[in-house]
Symmetry: C2
């Protein structure tokens, strides 16, 4: 049975604490209320701090919370003025440690803000603190729990950013995706996220994992929140404004990775597709060109080879401080030859070129965001396999919340589109979100 | 009159000092002698330190020289064992300050090595020190002079890396190119350089300028040196090994930027083309597709917009410590709208896709590396306009030394090839170098 995850008990609890000021408003609605002076920044920030104080002991979203930022009067004007933003703890924020989920960087103070953090400040955003990341944004989890059920993983590697938004501690957060580290935790926590076109936001000042793949992504409660947040930071026209009669042309391309999906996840994809059709979308089933399966396989090669390069200094000097799982990843990466890596990059380029043709007769692809709902336990953050191809191709991807399994745990649907068509993907995702929640 | 720049007086002077050990051997020849134990690392390092001590007071290649590195016994084995390497001072090296040519970062100690620096160490390379960069790798010059004539610019922004290799202080160095900051200084100093395919080496741990363009590049005395150095760091098969009978199919595509070339530069291109033909190369003249001129114009937009983002923290907190010329660049960048920037990125993508078709009937393009020889004075590092398109398209580019103007100053020829075809470009450039010096 499909239920709306927003009816789950923990959501209701969050709403109780934040109700007085935040109410049922999502981030972009609050921004509008702030701009219209219907609420004050001080009241909004106090409400978010209230939720944080209540939920943090269970959720563990923060590795560093800047309480003063919630209590100071906002300094900068802009679309995000008065709204707190969580920053994944691999991105530098002036005056806060960047610890990368690793003892190697315990207490490490950066020399300044990562450019994307400065851009958030310029838009008026309040930096709430640093959110939990897995070790160097790879596989060893941090302490964060799923806000909907603390016995489940929130997903990773952007665990704290996703969980914090889902728990209502802050309306917006940034994370990074190298395989599935933005879309997957958003799916597991039942919120929206954008993994934009590769290179959309600057990655500078953020600890690198794999430089052909690393992408800054955004979290918000709804797709419209994420679009608003992306526009506020970037200045690109992204806020969703599709004509009411517009219907997306959807493509369904079940790659090999879909074989890992649970029955509930496949049911969710079917339901989303059926409802979209009922609302006037067209749906085309697409046979998978082998070039995309090759690019999927090449993702593992590029990721592991580049992790071994990116963390060369840490491996060569602080090998004993790496987790066994990261140690193994680096060992795997170092066994890949330069020539196999070069071949994988060529497979990536071939698939990126072929991806242009994918969108001749469709607007966007619809796919599962993860193999299923959040798995049990905190020892793993789940599989990113459903996200590898979108990351490899550099395509914009949006997680659309709204569906859930029989236990009430979210099942994420992702919308993917052509490289550079971030506005289109956000528009189609917002349309689908309305359909799923309508 | 065309003469060989290697006959210039200052080159003879360098050779005098280094003669005893280094002799006329280039970097890869010395590496072979070291591997065969014909010379000792200690002797080679002492010889390079000797040259450095003699030339540095005039050339000013170093912002930080690690004398101890020249005197210690090499720690790591590998193809670069015993050979000193210069590192542009925007890249992090553990234990040395990263100052970025800016008072904002005076004395700033990084948290570790940039990944590419660790990769050089793993190949046995000795980090000689940090080389002079223009301010944040943009336009405000540092103190470096051209080793061939101290009244001329060495080019920039990788000024110290190019000048140090040309002066014989170290056989190899790394720089970065966002517009023309590797190929241009190599051309002005009469050495070889590789600006590889975008993303070939990790850019992490290096101060960003414009993230769609920033590329780590390499300097060496000859094209074979650069190929050897690139293979040593990356593990890709790159060392030049074309069959003796192989002849490149060259393309000549005179874009609008060629209008800036001096008569001597155009004569050098003609001479290179004629000699290549005489040696059996085919030469095809190619009409410029407007998509490439649009991408050229878009380079300025992307560069300035992204500089303004990359240096947002420095601008917002330390505006008074920026040079007037950088201040103006950032102001220009901040006036570009997000939507114009997004359009420029689309123009870039369109041209990158079109560039695949460019190489249907040719192997590589041959073009001027700069508008002419190094201009007079140290107030400007010269124009990067001849390099913008290659950087914008992410194509591998190699500067081929060998030609000079009537005053004996080098005129660089660049070879450009398809994205990912770094080995092919190095092979064609080495072939041309043999032709020009034969």
């Amino acid at each position: 049975m499909m239920t709306r995850w927003t009816d789950s008990p923990s959501q209701k609890m969050d709403r109780f604490y934040a109700h007085e000021v935040i109410g049922r408003n999502s981030g972009c609605e609050l921004a509008a209320s702030l701009a219209a002076a219907i609420v004050t920044p001080a009241a909004v920030l106090a409400a978010y701090l209230n939720v944080t104080d209540t939920r943090e002991p269970t959720v563990h979203a923060f590795v560093h919370l800047d309480r003063a930022a919630f209590l100071d009067a906002p300094k900068a004007a802009g679309p995000l003025a008065g709204l707190p933003v969580g920053i994944k703890d691999i991105a530098d924020v002036a005056g806060m440690p960047t610890q990368c989920g690793s003892p190697i960087y315990r207490g490490h103070m950066p020399s300044g803000d990562a450019p994307v953090v400065s851009m958030i400040r310029r838009a008026g955003g309040i930096i709430a603190g640093k959110t939990v990341t897995t070790e160097f944004a790879t596989r060893q989890p941090g302490p964060t729990t799923n806000p909907l059920n603390p016995t489940l993983t929130p997903g990773g590697s952007s665990s704290g950013s996703a969980a914090g938004v889902a728990a209502g501690m802050f309306p917006f957060a940034i994370g990074t995706q190298t395989a599935g580290s933005v879309i997957r935790p958003a799916a597991f926590c039942g919120i929206a996220a954008l993994k934009p076109t590769f290179g959309f936001f600057p990655y500078a000042g953020i600890k690198a994992t794999a430089w052909h793949l690393d992408t800054v992504g955004l979290f918000g409660q709804t797709v419209r929140d994420v679009a608003f947040f992306a526009e506020a930071i970037s200045g690109h026209s992204l806020a969703v404004a599709t004509a009411p009669e517009w219907k997306p042309r959807l493509g369904i391309m079940p790659t090999q990775a879909w074989d890992e999906c649970s029955a509930a996840m496949m049911e969710a994809v079917d339901l989303a597709t059926r409802r979209a059709k009922q609302q006037g979308a067209t749906v085309e089933h697409i046979r998978v060109d082998p070039v995309f399966e090759a690019a999927y396989a090449a993702h593992f090669v590029i990721q592991d080879y580049e992790i071994a390069c990116s963390l060369a200094y840490e491996f060569d000097r602080f090998e004993h401080l790496l987790s066994p799982i990261l140690h193994e990843t680096i060992r795997t990466g170092r066994e890949i030859t330069g020539d196999r890596y070069a071949e994988a990059l060529q497979e990536r380029r071939d698939a990126r070129r072929a991806s242009v043709g994918l969108f001749k007769d469709i607007d966007v692809l619809l796919a599962p965001s993860a193999p299923g709902a959040a798995p049990s336990g905190l020892a793993s953050t789940g599989s990113p396999n459903l996200n590898r191809l979108g990351t490899q191709l550099g395509m914009p991807c949006v997680n659309v919340p709204g569906l859930a399994d029989a236990a009430g745990m979210p099942l994420g649907i992702q919308i993917l589109g052509p490289i550079g068509a971030d506005a289109l993907v956000l528009g189609a995702a917002a349309w689908l979100e309305d359909v799923l929640n309508g």
